[in-house]
């Protein structure tokens, strides 16, 4: 069985969605994440084992390679697509409580900023790392972040900004969250954001890449 889960991890890492997918060319015609997840469930493997020993391992491998610039955005997108095809089949087990996320994180691009690709990449890696991601999308007002955090007690908060002109809006959100959901862990990122800026606005962490965000979140629940 460990071989099946190892194969599944490879499919996630390589972005092999299903048997019909032509990508990657060297795995053409072979089972993908979709088929292998079904096979694992049919064989009685616990959904939590599929998640932890297959999917998370595969996404972790590609996430670290992405951090080291050994793979690039197309590779990460394909891995996320493969991950989604597996997660669809695990969804009922999450709903029934047979599988559990590591935690919940609310994420979004801050008010005034409509950029979404960087934030989406982070969301993909966090989901692939076993986190329940509530993506509020872009141009998210501080009150929307706060309202969502109140609906999900214990959730972490991730904020992104691409512009020097919009990253200042993170500060207002941090202030509001500290007042209304003070135990919330807050991580920020985006092109103009630095650890110095994080310290200035009072967020808990800054990550320059998706895997760094996942590693930090995992450390919070370890």
């Amino acid at each position: 069985m460990s071989e099946l889960l190892a194969q599944l991890a490879v499919c996630i890492e390589r972005g092999k969605v299903n048997k019909a997918s032509p990508y990657p060319p060297d795995l053409r015609g072979q089972d993908g994440a979709e088929e292998l997840t079904k096979q694992a469930l049919d064989s009685g493997v616990a959904p939590s084992d599929i998640l932890e020993q297959g999917l998370i391992i595969g996404m972790g491998t590609i996430g670290h390679k992405f951090s080291r610039n050994e793979v690039f955005v197309p590779d990460l997108l394909m891995a996320a697509k493969a991950m989604s095809s597996a997660m669809v089949q695990l969804k009922p087990f999450f709903e029934s409580g047979q599988a559990r996320h590591k935690g919940t994180i609310v994420i979004g691009t801050v008010k005034g900023d409509l950029h979404d690709i960087g934030k989406k990449l982070v969301a993909m890696v966090l989901e692939g790392g076993g986190w329940n991601v509530i993506d509020l999308n872009v141009d998210v007002a501080p009150e929307k972040f706060v309202e969502t955090l109140k609906q999900h007690p214990g959730a972490a908060l991730g904020m992104s900004a691409l512009l020097t002109t919009t990253m200042v809006n993170m500060e207002e959100t941090v202030k509001r969250v500290r007042q209304e959901a003070p135990s919330t862990k807050i991580i920020i990122g985006g092109a103009p954001v630095t650890d110095e800026f994080r310290a200035k606005i009072g967020a808990d962490a800054y990550s320059p890449d998706p895997q760094g965000a996942l590693d930090w979140l995992n450390a919070q629940v370890a």
Binding site: F72, P74, T164, P208
Partner: protein
């Protein structure tokens, strides 16, 4: 002391790394910044920024590359701050109404080869209505009257594709169906060159070509160097060859971290790299050391030092970089992106004056 050159002479030589009187100067600004500085009385309403700051370049963006020219954009949803429209590419984009920003990619009719062949490719013909002849003519004349270096400005294939299908479908397409993406590249490149043929035959060529091509994120390019070489570089080489055959040097702009792609862009023949975004990880001095014999540079001055509004911080940034990168005569002073409205007018003015002072050459052999 070398005689003072006109902007046209200066930039023409800087892009070829030939001796000049001083480094060049140019800049991009967020619209909010110019509005603020105008409201504050620093700039007159409608005043030319080229005149005001003494910029060496003028440019004009004359092409409309939307697929369906006759399609009237449809407003799908509008709030006080944003408007969601379906455009002539079949793209659903949300734009901010109150300030400049890249639109949010909401949805696209083109998600794969079939969508491209149905909704966009058949409409990409070299129609004269795609060309702003009058605007190009006026800016070209104005540049000539003021001896400024005049550039045709527009986007190259990477930036032409994502308005059609978005970054996600384009980048997944590069992995799953590279022949589809190559077809988009080839078609859009061909259309650009056909339109250039028409425009330049009627109105005369510009002094240079300026391609905007955002290929990087923070810390990484969108694609691998291998993918760049296989899919994008052929169009870059084709458009650069076209320009060079007509005596026009080529500036390539890219935001984000694109250092791993620079060798491929040099192979494609570009003459200058702009904008060298420090906060994304780009290092102007290192690029100069690695490629300064083959490439000129425009930008690479950390805009965060400008919005510190602290002259000592601005001095330190300029003094660290300008004496080095002016070394081969191939440098134009410019921030590493655009000037945001946190930068005070006085700080920007100081940046330009101090940068130019550091960028003077004293004699033919210095």
């Amino acid at each position: 002391m070398r005689k003072t050159m006109t902007s046209r002479e200066r930039i023409g030589r800087i892009l070829r790394r030939q001796p000049v009187d001083r480094i060049g100067v140019f800049e991009h600004f967020w619209g909010d910044t110019i509005k603020l500085w105008t409201d504050q009385g620093h700039i007159r309403e409608g005043e030319s920024l080229e005149d005001h700051f003494g910029f060496d370049f003028m440019m004009h963006w004359p092409f409309n590359m939307v697929a369906q020219l006759d399609f009237e954009p449809v407003v799908v949803e509008e709030t006080e701050e944003t408007v969601l429209t379906r455009d002539g590419n079949g793209a659903l984009l949300r734009r901010h109404k109150l300030h400049d920003a890249t639109p949010e990619h909401v949805d696209f009719l083109v998600k794969d080869r079939a969508g491209w062949e149905e909704h966009v490719k058949p409409f990409l013909a070299p129609d004269r209505r795609r060309i702003d002849f009058q605007g190009y003519r006026d800016r070209k004349r104005l540049a000539a009257e003021n001896n400024r270096f005049f550039c045709w400005a527009g986007v190259n294939v990477f930036e032409l594709m994502h308005p059609v299908c978005g970054h996600e479908y384009m980048l997944m397409g590069m992995a799953m169906d590279p022949d589809w993406v190559k077809d988009m590249v080839n078609t859009l490149c061909g259309l650009t060159l056909d339109l250039m043929d028409i425009l330049f035959a009627e109105e005369g060529p510009p002094d240079g070509i300026w391609f905007y091509e955002d290929m990087g994120l923070k810390g990484r390019p969108f694609m691998s160097p291998a993918m760049y070489r296989e899919i994008i570089q052929p169009a870059h080489a084709r458009t650069v060859d076209y320009a060079h055959a007509r005596g026009m040097p080529v500036v390539m702009h890219s935001c984000g971290y694109v250092a791993p792609l620079v060798p491929g862009m040099v192979e494609a023949g570009i003459d200058a790299l702009q904008v060298i975004e420090v906060k994304a990880g780009m290092d102007l001095v290192q690029l100069f050391r690695d490629f300064g014999d083959r490439l000129s540079f425009i930008g690479g001055i950390d805009v965060r030092t400008l919005y510190s509004n602290d002259r000592a911080v601005i001095d330190a940034e300029l003094e660290k970089k300008i004496p080095v990168v002016k070394g081969r005569y191939g440098y134009v002073l410019h921030s590493d992106h655009s000037i945001p409205d946190q930068v005070r007018y006085e700080s920007y003015r100081y940046f330009v004056d101090r940068g130019i002072a550091l960028g003077h050459y004293m004699g033919p052999n210095d």
